[in-house]
Symmetry: C2
DNA sequence: CGCATAAAGTTGAGGTGGCCAAGTATCGAC
DNA sequence: GTCGATACTTGGCCACCTCAACTTTATGCG
């Protein structure tokens, strides 16, 4: 088994465990994982169209309608008109900004798996993951180029 | 921002991206993420009760009924009687064993974010994540002790 | 033994999230 | 002005998830 293969398995295990913990904490706030994720993406004072949210969530636009409905029903989000009257700009309300802050604290909290590592390991992990994310971005850029080149 | 905090953010980003990719590949096999995960947990020749699957999936027992129904309808799994006639032992069929092997290959495949790292980084990542998972296990043991101590 | 209690699984109700196809309103370009 | 594209919504269908209630079987205790 290669180092990459084993790293992948370990990565998956840590991720799943953390997701379960975060999911439980979010349930206490009355939020699902998807709702919390959407809230995270919506920066205060930077509203964006629903189509943008669909893209960021990698899901169908029709799906976003329902998610926005539920967030709006809870008073976390508002659909504001854009200059283009087809688009609805998703805007955090005051309550949305506040709850988002709590969600950010909650989801950005590293799991025990990471916090219990030595300071040296934590720094090494951060540095390696920085390079890994750079690879991710390069890979995504490759895919975009391929798509536009063949469409 | 601490190294642990930043590592957590990067970790999350890589995990989400990989999940999307894996989800698409699984859809090609006609499997949902949950079904694939359940299949992965069911080792060939090591059947276990449905309650055990509920525990491993961190979900309600009633949920497992539906998941098992769908896997059984596709001929991937069988409900076999145990010595205790209340329990049903989930058992992979031949088709289940075969599809599971494909799922394992698919989900164990490290994402580009990892494979594009240098060999040195890959080994370092594996070593750090091994220690992180050890922390995870220690943390879980702590929780079990706490639960049994106060129940 | 006989009965109470507990455990494993199922069922049904209710809600979230995911897709697709079809529909509406608006925009932009010809 | 008309046509095609774009942004969002709607409705249908399904997977998944929880909870509460139920059936069947096991087990502990008097």
């Amino acid at each position: 088994m290669t180092a990459a293969d084993e790293a992948q398995g370990l990565f998956f295990e840590i991720g799943m465990a953390h997701r379960v913990k975060v999911g439980a904490a979010l349930a206490d706030l009355g939020l699902t994982f998807t709702q919390a994720h959407a809230l995270r993406l919506l920066e205060p004072d930077h509203p964006f169209p629903m189509s943008k949210l669909a893209e960021l969530l990698f899901c169908d636009a029709s799906n976003v309608t329902g998610i926005a409905d539920r967030l709006e029903a809870r008073g976390l989000v508002r659909r504001a008109e854009g200059t283009d009257r087809r688009v609805k700009m998703l805007t955090l309300t005051k309550a949305g900004v506040d709850l988002r802050a709590r969600v950010m604290r909650l989801m950005n909290e590293p799991p025990a798996a990471i916090t219990l590592l030595s300071a040296k390991d934590q720094r090494a992990l951060r540095d390696i993951l920085r390079r890994a994310v750079a690879n991710l971005d390069a890979d995504r850029a490759r895919h975009r180029a391929w798509q536009t080149g063949t469409s």
